[in-house]
């Protein structure tokens, strides 16, 4: 009896061991098989290494597929990056991030008008010259009310543009005229100090009328539904898979292009996939997240950082039916949080700067950085003061108890972590309950527009290199002012900044805006965003840009193997 029990136990153990062995061996075999399969399929689709010196080509990753590449409609960053390589505006940003001549070979900007002289050898990819009419057509297209271009407002400095966009004037009334094929004359709605910077923006790119009309409403939807005038052309665009850019032999400035091919061979927004592709020498550039910083250090890569110019902040809802319309509540929220802690303890990425102002650190004034001339108001977390303001707010609002506030945020890792951090901070320091409303980008935008939030974690990237791109954000008429902040004193400063030509006057206006934003707690700045990234050691000359195509590979070159 006893011996039998023992033998059955030892049998059971042996059986268990056998099972475990079979399981592990099976799993190993499966992994090996899958790996083999993956290698087979990879080689089938042409597994290029990141840098191919023989054919002078590089492979890059894009985080999402461009919805379409019609420059008059495009809004997202990936479209901006691709368009920046295949199109060229009147002016462009060069390898030192300075304005340089593009299609225009010379230009003159006066107080109320500008004249651009187009170069003779600027050609479309079908060999016809780029003419002044192409710019006029493109701008009218972006302003046509039927097209509902989200970036139409960036053309508003051109005379009558706003009226055309709102349908009160015919498109022919636009203050941009082609005097002849190579002369473009622009009349301004009002004096503007930075029109030259605007002409490098993608909405200002040319579109040729006869080609646009021949595509029958599908302009920009495919590689052959687009006419190019930039340093590269799209040779093939396999939707959802790859976007292949080749050197444009008709581009006027061949001297500045070194690469023959930029193949956007991978489309994914997953940071781990991206890191692995870089590790496997499949792509030339990848961004880093706090989670994979350590692994980048272990690989002993040369890490770069770059401030992308975006400002992230908590935007408060100023609609009168919301509790956050109370100034003392806003002050309490502002004083109860510490952007330093957010950046240094929670975000943990180099390159981020704790937010202090509406105007990010990269903006220039007449003598160096705007921030050096007009330092932002100092912020220190002060829980006691925050609680005093909260008590005042409670009395003013006549509340027995604060109901919970809704914090609207995006649905991704970064916003999840930050929203939970803010939830805990406001609970700990103010005893306020925060409900987190996670929404995908489109839904979040819809809710921001309709005002279904108390606080929203928002961000803003610059459209052009001037503080006004941030300053006019909280003008009462700006539709991107999602909290519907409305203050005549602030509007007045925006008007000054829009109309004045003198740099000092404009900077003073921006300084006033900075002060009002702080005193009124219109927003609670969180951080200026940074990017930590790694590039292939043999690829040089990649430019990161605050405004325009980012990253810009058009001047990049492959260094010979050492």
């Amino acid at each position: 009896m006893t011996t039998k029990a023992i033998s059955s136990t030892s049998l059971a153990i042996r059986q268990l061991g056998l099972f475990a062995f079979a399981a592990v061996a099976g799993l190993a075999a499966l992994m090996w098989g899958l790996n083999l399969l993956a290698n087979l399929t990879a080689s089938a689709s042409g597994a290029n290494s990141a840098v191919d010196a023989a054919s002078n080509a590089i492979t890059v990753l894009i985080s999402s597929e461009p919805p379409q590449l019609d420059s008059s409609l495009s809004t997202d960053q990936v479209s901006g990056m691709v368009l920046g390589h295949v199109m060229e505006g009147l002016l462009r940003y060069d390898e030192n991030n300075e304005l340089a001549p593009g299609v225009a070979e010379s230009w003159r900007i006066n107080a109320d008008s500008a004249v651009f002289r187009l170069r003779e050898n600027a050609l479309w990819s079908d060999g016809k010259p780029v003419t002044a009419q192409d710019f006029v057509f493109a701008w009218r297209l972006a302003l046509a009310p039927d097209n509902a271009s989200q970036y139409a407002f960036i053309l508003y400095p051109v005379k009558n543009a706003e009226a055309i966009n709102q349908g009160t004037q015919p498109p022919e009334a636009l203050g941009a005229r082609a005097l002849d094929d190579r002369t473009l004359e622009i009349e301004f709605e009002r004096p503007i100090a930075f029109f030259d910077k605007l002409t490098a923006f993608s909405t200002y790119y040319p579109v040729r009328q006869d080609f646009y009309e021949s595509t029958d409403g599908t302009y920009g939807a495919d590689a052959d539904k687009l006419l190019y005038n930039g340093p590269f052309v799209i040779a093939s665009w396999v939707h959802g898979q790859s976007l292949d850019m080749r050197r444009n032999p008709l581009y006027w400035n061949q001297g500045r292009i070194h690469l023959d091919r930029i193949n956007a061979g991978y489309i994914t927004s997953d940071p781990n996939t991206s890191l692995n592709l870089f590790k496997d020498d499949k792509i030339v550039l990848t961004g880093l997240t706090p989670e994979n910083l350590t692994s980048a250090l272990e690989q002993r890569w040369q890490i770069h950082r770059f401030m992308d110019g975006s400002l992230f902040f908590l935007e408060l809802n100023h609609r009168p039916d919301r509790l956050t319309s109370n100034l003392n509540l806003r002050k309490a929220l502002y004083l109860a949080q510490d952007p330093n802690e957010l950046v240094y303890k929670v975000i943990k990425l180099p390159g981020y700067l704790p937010g202090v102002s509406l105007f990010p650190s990269f903006l220039d004034g007449p003598h160096g950085r705007f921030r050096d001339d007009h330092p932002p108001p100092a912020h220190r977390i002060d829980v006691a003061a925050a609680r005093r303001h909260l008590a005042l707010a409670q009395a003013e609002l006549g509340l027995d108890e604060f109901p919970s506030l809704v914090l609207l945020t995006g649905d991704n890792t970064v916003s999840n972590v930050q929203s939970e951090y803010f939830q805990a901070v406001f609970k700990k320091n103010l005893g306020l309950d925060i409900k987190i409303d996670r929404q995908i980008f489109k839904q979040r935008l819809a809710k921001m527009t309709s005002g279904e939030f108390d606080i929203v974690m928002a961000g803003w990237g610059p459209d052009y290199d001037d503080p006004l791109t941030f300053g006019d954000l909280f003008a009462s008429w700006n539709l991107n002012n999602r909290g519907r902040y409305s203050n005549p004193a602030y509007d007045e400063q925006v008007r000054i900044a829009q109309n004045a030509l003198d740099a000092e006057v404009r900077m003073a206006a921006f300084a006033n805006m900075q002060r009002i934003i702080h005193e009124d707690v219109v927003i609670i700045p969180s951080y200026d965003r940074g990017v930590a990234y790694v590039t292939h050691p043999r690829l040089q000359g990649v430019r990161r840009r605050v405004v325009g195509a980012d990253p810009d590979y058009s001047n990049a070159y492959i260094v010979p193997e050492a």
Binding site: R305, K345, P350, G351, E420, Y421, A424, I436, R438
Partner: protein
């Protein structure tokens, strides 16, 4: 062939014996017998212990380990279990203007490095038009892997920097590299090693409740930070407390939803089986219809209809969806059993003795299906826990800061490579719970199934 002769005695009646068969062992009821069998099944018994331990972990745990699962200990973010938690008390942070620091020849630390700040000063490097400062956790080495770029200036007069970025008590290697006029790296660089010490201010220590009663903390005191037996997550929240809080959600859903839908399924199946005929047909065709409904789609629909406000917990709609969609399996099983039992002799006997329908169902039929029901229940529990984990994983479950095992896995998977404990612990709990309930269900089926008995 031998002759057999019979006498009269041979035909006398046998003497009446008091007992022909003695019952030497005590009489056992069905449940006692089942319990004996379960006890003999070691796997099932251990599973039962694990289930009991889990219940204790959920109910008693928070009393013993009384830590707020939403409390963020930002001193100890993503801390592994059993990490060193000694800290020194220090003055509150004061902004530092390194411009006052004395000019030095080489890169060095201006003050002892702490987790509050590492302050560096350096001297002029040959031909530098600017500097870039890096930090690495490994020595720079041959490849010139400087590490993370922290700071960059094109002002050659600047010679100080303060690092506050995610400092942990470990050794860092800081390098300052000279830049040329275009902001490109040159070969001139210096490195300094910094052994960072963990510090905490009096204010922070008091806010965390680290000071003992009556103890006045002063800068320079040694102190032990909050203990976290299973480490902390990406916001410094205690993993053990979160696992307990998560267990409450997971086990609540795992027990309540199956109890409700099995009770409903039993009533439904019993009605269908007992009445039979067109009623059986109608009821069972309806249950077929429910089986065909896609779960995830209905889960989302119910969530939308029930008007769960954003930021509120989705537990109630989750339970509702499970109850509405999971009962048909039980109903089918019970109906089948009832159909079989209905034809048994003792039912006819009871009917002849005048028993009514409710009596027959409640007294004879359902008790005879209890074994099957119990087994279904033990198998439904792990399924429900798994469903909850899955729904929380895809973000349809609990709202932050409430934790559930599924949502903890979802968060942990992002830091799987750097801080594996954030994923491993909740995943382990889900696996063990599901396994324990499954094995227990397996044992119960063996113990309760009447047919199994005849095999011995």
């Amino acid at each position: 062939m031998a002759e057999t002769t019979y006498s009269a005695e041979d035909f006398a009646p046998a003497p009446a014996l008091a007992s022909v068969q003695g019952i030497s062992r005590p009489s056992l009821s069905y449940w006692q017998d089942a319990w004996l069998r379960l006890k003999a099944n070691r796997r099932a018994l251990y599973s039962l212990y694990i289930v009991i331990a889990l219940l204790a972990f959920t109910l008693v745990g928070p009393v013993v380990w009384n830590i707020d699962p939403a409390l963020q200990d930002l001193q100890q973010i993503s801390q592994a279990p059993q990490a060193d938690r000694n800290a020194t008390i220090i003055e509150p942070y004061k902004p530092w203007d390194g411009a006052d620091a004395p000019m030095v020849a080489r890169l060095r630390l201006a003050e002892p490095p702490t987790t509050q700040a590492v302050r560096l000063v350096w001297g002029a490097l040959p031909g530098a038009a600017g500097y870039r400062l890096y930090r690495n956790i490994f020595p720079v080495g041959e490849e010139r892997a400087y590490g993370l770029p922290l700071f960059e200036t094109l002002d050659p007069a600047k010679h100080h920097f303060e690092d506050r970025l995610d400092l942990r008590p470990q050794t860092y290697f800081y390098s300052v590299v000279a830049l040329d006029g275009q902001g490109r790296l040159t070969d001139a660089f210096e490195t300094v090693e910094a052994e960072v010490r963990r510090v905490i201010t009096v204010e922070e220590a008091e806010a965390m409740g680290l000071a003992e009663a009556g103890q006045a903390l002063a800068p320079g005191d040694r102190i032990k930070l909050q203990a976290h037996p299973l480490g902390t997550d990406y916001l410094g929240r205690d993993m053990l407390a979160r696992l307990m809080a998560g267990a409450r959600v997971s086990l609540f859903i795992g027990l309540v939803a199956p109890l409700i839908f099995i009770a409903f399924g039993v009533a439904y199946g019993a009605a269908a089986g007992f009445f039979g005929g067109w009623m059986d047909q109608a009821l069972m065709r309806f249950s077929d219809f429910v089986v065909a409904l896609p779960f995830l789609l209905f889960m989302i629909l119910i969530r939308v209809i029930s008007g769960v406000q954003p930021g509120e917990s989705g537990v109630a709609p989750m339970v509702l969806a499970m109850v509405l969609l999971s009962w048909p399996a039980t109903a089918r099983l019970v109906r089948g059993q009832i159909l079989q039992i209905r034809e048994e002799g003792y039912i006819s006997a009871s009917q002849l003795l005048g028993a009514g329908a409710p009596y027959l169902v409640l007294r004879h039929m359902i008790p005879n299906t209890l074994g099957v029901i119990l087994v279904t229940l033990t198998f439904a529990v792990p399924t429900a826990i798994f469903t909850e984990a899955f729904l929380s994983f895809i973000g349809m479950g609990v709202a932050p800061p409430t934790a559930s095992w599924g949502s903890m896995c979802n968060e942990g998977i992002k830091t799987m490579l750097t801080h594996p404990h954030e994923l491993i612990f909740p995943a382990l709990f889900i696996s063990i719970t599901v396994l324990a309930f499954n094995l227990l269900g397996d044992g119960l089926r063996d113990a309760l199934d009447a047919r199994m008995r005849s095999r011995e």
